[in-house]
């Protein structure tokens, strides 16, 4: 399909990419992946940070356990979850069956086109959320305790306290978390490579997986590089949004 387009170079290749069905699928999948994984990691990370930001017994052990997946290679994480996702007998299916009393039958997590991308999202959230928890935690700990005291004197409830003290204090952290999570999400590669190879029916193709397959697998450096440029544009767009949000915040506060 690509052969007769070989002669074109430079900016034209991007136009050709736009007509490439597999690449467009990869682009849509990657955006969808980021759209789910980024908020999931960010908000779950915030929830965990609020949970472990209290001095109860054994709290540092909990923090350690939540953070451990972050230091493990994505290769190991992907292959391990591949085993857990096994259809029958499979650990995840067994747990699901036990919780729902058998109402939800064994699911082919990675082989079903409707489930494969979701399954990859789930393991990615599991791996990355501890990282964001630590960033939120660092943000939480620089909010002056004075503000909480003032809120309590004013009779603020828990929600009001979060809404008017915690969240505004975390605005800068929030922007950072979302940017880092987005850049990581756009880089989706290892999970796809180790688990699905882009299938089933191209439902787990990703931008970087395409760059790798074309640029390395098929030795087409030009297409691979063109895809890398599209990827760069994605990352740059996110960073510019961060800049914009950061500036707006500064203007609003002072």
């Amino acid at each position: 399909m690509q052969e007769w387009m070989r002669w074109s170079v430079g900016d034209r290749l991007i136009l050709l990419l736009a007509r490439d069905v597999v690449f467009m699928k990869a682009l849509v999948n990657t955006l969808l992946f980021a759209l789910v994984v980024v908020p999931a990691q960010a908000f779950l990370g915030l929830g965990l940070a609020l949970l472990v930001n209290k001095a109860v017994r054994g709290i540092s052990l909990y923090r350690t356990v939540y953070f451990v997946p972050v230091v493990i290679s994505m290769v190991v994480v992907a292959q391990l979850w591949g085993a857990l996702y096994n259809e029958d007998p499979g650990v995840i299916n067994a747990m699901l069956g036990a919780v729902t009393l058998g109402a939800i039958g064994p699911i082919d997590w990675l082989g079903d086109p409707a489930m494969a991308l979701f399954s990859i999202m789930a393991l990615s959230v599991w791996q990355g959320v501890g990282f964001h928890m630590i960033i939120w935690l660092a943000g939480l700990q620089v909010i002056p305790p004075m503000l909480y005291e003032a809120a309590r004197i004013d009779g603020a409830g828990r929600w009001a306290e979060f809404r008017h003290v915690t969240w505004p204090g975390l605005r800068h952290t929030a922007v950072f978390v979302f940017v880092i999570a987005s850049i990581q999400a756009f880089g989706l590669f290892t999970q796809v490579d180790r688990l699905t190879g882009g299938g089933p029916l191209d439902t787990t193709q990703s931008v970087i997986f395409q760059a790798y397959e074309r640029g390395f697998g098929k030795q087409d450096v030009a297409i691979g590089s063109a895809i890398s440029v599209v990827f760069f544009a994605l990352v740059l767009a996110v960073t510019l949004v961060q800049r914009f949000l950061g500036r707006e915040r500064r203007g609003a506060v002072r």
Binding site: V52, V65, V68, V76, L84, A94, V177, G215
Partner: protein, 295 residues
């Protein structure tokens, strides 16, 4: 029993529900790893029959290290481990020297445009490695290399399938430079001034005064360099073709199909990282917290 009752009475409802949530999440994050470690000790049949019950997370049946022995027979695992250790080790050592020197020049010496240079270096932080992987592959495949053959030295082309192609691209790291700059700036200027009076050269100040004071930041940079190098996958997958120079994560493909051998291999390559993490936990957490204030 009385101790337990006292413990339960001591808990308020709020803290009880908090504990329940804490334990639930601890299970969520730990169960895959417990499964991995347990399965690595079981026979294939045992692992299969256990995987649809709670036994998947328990040391059931005959436990042995047989899987670990078999893993070394299936693939040159010892070689993979040596390769990863060598590549990561060299990058860590060279990275500490190169990045601290760059940071020293930026943080301690006065010259035009050093602020601009730092800004440019930090700007590269937004570029994930994936962006440049394919173009970089093209570049390294064309770099000149020395070929030793039968006593003569020839100039060959291409760096592919070597140790150095896995080392050089990762020595200079913007984030390491950033961490060093921050730390060096926190050291008093008077140190340099006094040494300059005594006629010390800049390099002597770097080597004899600044670096000996920089233990904590060196440790942080070492950890933050070692971890991604050990866990690396995309780049070595593209640039290595033979087993004698492949690192551990590329080697994982030999054990891709689940089963206890895969579990044994994955446990084997994860344990060093876990030990490093548990020993140096504070460094990890501090450096991540530092990254969020980069701006």
């Amino acid at each position: 029993m009385t101790a337990l009752r006292r413990f339960v009475r001591g808990l308020e409802w709020g803290s009880l529900s908090r504990h329940a949530v804490l334990i639930f999440f601890a299970f969520v994050f730990a169960f895959p790893l417990v499964y991995m470690a347990m399965s690595s000790l079981k026979s294939p049949a045992q692992m299969t029959s256990d995987s649809s019950s709670i036994a998947a997370f328990l040391p059931t049946g005959d436990l042995s290290l047989t899987n670990y022995e078999i893993v070394f027979e299936i693939a040159p695992v010892g070689q993979f481990l040596v390769n990863s250790l060598f590549i990561s080790g060299v990058v860590v050592l060279a990275g500490i020297v190169v990045n601290s020197l760059a940071a020293f020049a930026i943080a301690r010496m006065r010259w035009r445009a050093r602020g601009l240079l730092l800004t440019i270096i930090l700007a590269t932080l937004i570029l994930p490695f994936e962006t440049i992987a394919v173009p970089l592959l093209f570049v390294v495949s064309r770099l000149p290399t020395l070929v030793f053959e039968g006593g003569t030295v020839e100039l060959g082309e291409g760096w592919l399938n070597s140790y150095h192609v896995q080392i050089f691209p990762f020595i200079a790291q913007a984030f390491s430079i950033f961490l060093f700059v921050q730390y060096f700036r926190s050291l008093p200027v008077e140190l340099d001034e006094a040494a300059r009076m005594d006629g010390a050269s800049w390099f002597t100040i770097y080597r004899r005064i600044i670096m000996p004071l920089s233990g904590p930041v060196v440790a942080t940079v070492a950890v933050l360099t070692f971890l991604p190098m050990w866990n690396q996958y995309l780049w070595p997958l593209m640039v290595t073709q033979t087993e004698d120079i492949r690192p551990v994560m590329v080697g994982a493909a030999y054990f891709g199909q689940w089963g206890p051998f895969g579990m044994a291999y994955m446990t084997l390559v994860t344990v060093p990282v876990l030990i490093l993490f548990i020993v140096l936990q504070r460094r990890f957490v501090e450096s991540i917290a530092a990254s969020s204030t980069t701006g």
